[in-house]
Symmetry: C2
DNA sequence: ACGCATCGACGAAGCGCATCGACGACAGTT
DNA sequence: AACTGTCGTCGATGCGCTTCGTCGATGCGT
């Protein structure tokens, strides 16, 4: 492996000059820059990350703490991960995986050993045990998810309250007077995973304003639970039933159960799910969706942490960003009555 | 951040002694070790990764190259990623994400900058464009997947040929004389993604030996394509139809289409899918599965690369490991006739 | 023609650790 | 008592880079 010293010799300049050509932190004449760049090219020189980190005290690596809770929809987590990784590269950073199994000590480790300059935490819960550690860490941390007490933390998430509101408003406009929300897994709900509460707040507020009834029913990956929820909803609904299934796992099951009950989305039942546009179109009946914007949330999370890293002003920051959700009509919901 | 020098002062020893206590590469008396360990504890010292990498020429980081091809089943990729990350930690290594978007230059970058000591490549194709780069890289690389020409490469994968063989044998034993295999997406098949070919080889060989007919039909995430495949299969089958759907995306669709054709798995049609045991049990009708052992493949991949990193004998290695697949009967396949 | 400012390049000093040679202390030998 | 040999510790050096102070060269004005 060639070093910057080799490059300097090949170009006939000092090693520090090579460094300045690379960083642009001091003016370099056109002539010598050309020479140095040629030498770099010819030797296929690449700066050593360890040495660079040691000298500059910056690793250009961001730790990404990913959840592996089995009840989560893996495919959607993967979407976060992929977008985060790609966006980080666009900002000239790399992503180090930190698994949740390592817990809070894992955060201390990667920061303490200075393996990374900052962290992104996914799937932050209302009372996350890692928050005290995060606050004490003294490096930029961006949370995806809003904890109960966001004081001194930088948070971003989809606007779940808006999402809940949009779903109920939409179904109400289509003529439904009862909207059944199949929630996330009971484990998730009980843990007061922040977004669940926010979503519910959105549905309930809208329901109150519009005079619509909202039923909250348990979700999960268990078919029987969902089937039970559906039947309960059907029993309590007068008129055409409407379902909202914000969790990916749930909506797959929901569709099958509705079909086994002889109900066809868009005809005698309305269904709003959550899926990316491409996936939604592929469904047997194109699914009306509430888009929780995972890609946009991911992009912004990376952008925010990169800004914090640039600024590198010490001390805690605080901010809270909510990404607007988007509701899209496809064929699985009833059309609003004319004139509505 | 305290340094090893600080620890040395606190313990009243030389910095090198601290280093030796940590690495154990030279004998240290019980007494001074205790002193040093106490100082480390008290200062909450953690060695600086950059400095360590610079001095030792080892980063203890493994680059994981993940595919983001939309047609792949994201949930199963996530399983690989999670197991790989956790296993790496058990071997005292970290995982750096390298996205496929960076392509071959990305591999050169992370290795050239010495951000990581070795690579794991997922989703290696038959004629992968990255192979020449990998061979020239001069660091340990483990491929998950078997390319057409594995010369000089270290590969591991599930034994897809065994899987194909097991499926056909199993269905033949249950009395089926025609077995319909719904393949992966046409894009995947056309690319000669190695495992598709191997799986087919397994099914066809077994079919030849047992005098069974195997139909290969296009798969994918498109419902109409699968529906078409199913109908073709039904038309060509005499007796009770049997389906094998080794791709996760496909099997979801397959189940729904069969049910819409009035066929019940385990009663008037046999279905073998691929899913983890927990998922398989959750299906409306517990799914007989061919387990492609993603977790085991992941664990071994990490183990192999860690061994290569320990040994750190330069020059190319070559090995090929196939993880045996496991077929599990649940209720979605017919019982073999008595006495069989 | 001389002095002065400006620009561009240089050299040296670390960053925090691993590693190697060397050396002091102590035990065992003759 | 002098000698050899371990064992445990120290000091110095270098990994490859960033960064700061410095200084020579060049241009300008008078």
């Amino acid at each position: 492996m060639p070093t910057s010293k080799d490059v300097a010799e090949a170009a006939g300049v000092a090693q520090s000059t090579v460094s300045y050509v690379l960083s642009g932190k001091r003016p370099i004449s056109e002539k010598t820059r050309k020479k140095v760049e040629a030498a770099i090219e010819q030797l296929t020189y690449q700066p050593n990350a360890g040495a660079r980190a040691l000298a500059s005290r910056k690793t250009r690596v961001i730790g990404l703490v990913i959840p592996f809770i089995p009840e989560l929809h893996m495919a959607s987590i993967m979407e976060f991960v992929s977008v985060i990784a790609n966006t980080a590269r666009q900002h000239d950073h790399d992503i180090l995986l930190v698994t949740e199994d390592e817990g809070a000590p894992g955060l201390r480790r990667v920061v303490g050993q200075q393996i990374c300059d900052g962290l992104i935490l996914m799937q932050v819960e209302g009372d996350d045990e890692r928050l005290p550690v995060v606050r004490s860490l003294n490096v930029p941390v961006v949370l995806i998810g809003i904890p109960r007490d966001p004081t001194g933390l930088v948070c971003i998430d989809a606007d779940f309250e808006m999402a809940g509101d949009q779903c109920v408003r939409d179904l109400a406009a289509a003529g439904h007077s009862v909207v059944s929300v199949i929630d996330w897994q009971p484990e998730v709900v009980d843990r007061h995973v922040n977004y669940v509460d926010r979503f519910m707040r959105g549905t309930d507020k809208a329901a109150g304003e519009l005079g619509v009834t909202v039923l909250h029913l348990p979700g999960g990956a268990d078919r029987d639970v969902i089937a039970d929820s559906v039947d309960k909803a059907l029993a309590k609904t007068t008129g055409i039933p409407a379902f909202v299934a914000p969790d990916g796992t749930v909506q797959d099951l929901l569709r099958r159960i509705l079909s086994s009950r002889g109900l066809t989305p868009g005809v005698d039942v309305s269904v709003i799910g959550s899926a990316s546009p491409t996936l939604a179109d592929l469904q047997p009946i194109p699914l009306s969706t509430i888009d929780l914007r995972p890609a946009e949330v991911s992009r912004r999370a990376v952008k925010i942490i990169c800004q914090l890293l640039e600024a590198d002003s010490p001390g805690p920051h605080e901010s809270l960003e909510l990404v607007p959700t988007v509701i899209t009509h496809r064929s699985s919901t009833l059309r609003p009555p004319r004139g509505a």
